[in-house]
Amino acid sequence: MANGGTGSKVVKWVDSRLPIFSFVDHALREYPTPKNLSYWWNFGSLAGVVLVVMIVTGIVLAMHYTPHTTMAFDSVERIMRDVNYGWLIRYIHMNGASMFFIVVYIHIFRGMYYGSYKNPRELLWWLGVIIYLLMMATAFMGYVLPWGQMSFWGATVITKLFSAIPWVGEAITQWLWGGFSVSNPTLNRFFSLHYLLPFAIVGVVVFHLWALHTTKSNNPLGIDPRGPQDTIPFHPYYTVKDNFGLGVFFIIWAAFVFFAPDFFGEPDNYIPANPLQTPPHIVPEWYFLPFYAILRAIPSKLFGVIGLIGSVGILFFVPWLDTSRIRSTSYRPIYKWFFWLFVVNCLVLGYLGAQAPEGWYLFFGRVCTIYYFGFFLVIMPLLGFIERPKKLPGSITQSVLGPGSHPAEAPPPVAREPVREGAV
């Protein structure tokens, strides 16, 4: 678009010294993307946009926020009341955190459904899990900053988990706190780290995109492109599709910001933190609820913590736990049921995480925890061996053009496919 007239002279001058323009051009125009990507493939770019918005709004909020226990709550209210458009920037940031997790969870489930973690994309998947972990740390610390009752007590509950570690647990917990409880040193350091981690996320995202450009995108069929007839340039096809997805996404985000800004929150966090009064129900933010349910389902404190860490850590092993040669669940009729059951299981765990861990809630929490781990440790490995998948289409183009065309031959199984030539 910028090529032509004086614009291109400037572009050439810069590009011959630092090839940023040709880099972007290559990455966008020449990146061969499968032509059959569905809207489930929009969520990666959505996550990237949310990250940028969170950083911009966060930096602006940091201009007005004071990370001291006596002033934090008031400084947030000052942003809401006195800072020009402070209410808007705060609500965008607050709801953006929830939007970020919604988008990333869909993005992860997409990756699981279509086998985007399988050879050669294992590292891509790992980088994604690292991003997810960094997001969780960032969000956890960010929620402490307003210094409401949930900020304080949520921080207390989670940091106290570290004391479950044998021998060094207490020392580690005090080291984290900078004191004998969640207190001003804790708040101050959480602010510093909350500001830092998003930039670490940016770094890992760069690697994530680099890995993606190395292996190229997966697609709903889970079979590799066989040639240029199966792919299209990312720009303009997927740029325009991503923009459309972004428009829809912004509508949803704006609906929350402007008309239900406290929907994802807890009223208790509008009560200033009081170390001498515990709220009746301590709940983390909704995106942590499934893990909270798993933590409380396991009776022992230490094993609960191990279960909590394991429930996220197990994601690292998925590329090897799943033994199936078929990438896309669309062609795995038995696994498909287990997968959707897993999705529902996660939603139920989320619900249970907000309830008191007693009676039927605790019972189902345990059932769902067993299924959670069972899905990864039993179903994924077993089904790869015993399941008979559906017949894969011959090629992407064939699938796109419809059943009239004949499959040339069955595509070779996943594991033997060589890594695609050509880095970025």
Partner: protein, 181 residues
């Protein structure tokens, strides 16, 4: 652009171009609209603006007495001038002044001098407000940092400062109350 073996329809091209234009315009408008709050949030907030003007009760300031009040983070000198001081201020020749301004252009009522007490050289606060202070050679204020002398109208007479002590916007709400800012 992607190769197309079919000839593009004239209508299709125009439609695409229009949509491209519409998108760019809409997006540009959107970006500008979104950018404004992020720029405006750095402007002084409502609580800062609320403190942007202050009311001062001047009824208790005696003739010859000077008080200092804080306004927008800086000291403001309020001087209840004596007749001698007024006479000296009015009598000064404009040609002698580095920053020539007549006294009557610096006060609303001759017995009340209101100025921002920050030296126009490099920003120190001149001495002269308290009764024991040095007032410099012209009976007004003396800046100890680099030796600027101000007269009884707050004008620079000697020393490195380039300008007179600035007069802030103020008004008399009554005989006993002024509002600064």
């Amino acid at each position: 652009m992607a190769n197309s073996t079919t000839a593009p329809h004239g209508g299709g091209e125009t439609r695409r171009d229009f949509l491209l234009l519409a998108t760019t315009v809409a997006a540009g408008f959107g970006v500008a609209a979104v950018a404004w709050p992020f720029i405006d949030q750095m402007n002084p907030a409502a609580d800062t603006l609320a403190l942007g003007s202050i009311k001062v009760d001047i009824s208790k300031i005696e003739v010859g007495q000077r008080i200092t009040v804080k306004w927008r983070g800086a000291p403001v000198f309020i001087d209840h001038r004596t007749p001698e001081q007024i006479k000296a201020a009015e009598g000064a020749k404009l040609g002698d002044l580095k920053d020539p301004v007549a006294d009557k252009d610096r006060v609303q009522k001759p017995e009340w001098l209101v100025m921002v007490g920050v030296c126009t050289h490099l920003g120190c606060i001149p001495k002269g407000q308290k009764s024991g202070d040095r007032k410099g050679e012209f009976g007004g204020w003396f800046c100890p940092c680099h030796g600027s002398h101000y007269d009884t109208s707050g004008r620079i007479r000697k020393g490195p400062a380039p300008n007179n002590l600035p007069v802030p916007p103020y008004k008399f709400l009554s005989d006993t109350q002024i509002q600064i800012g």
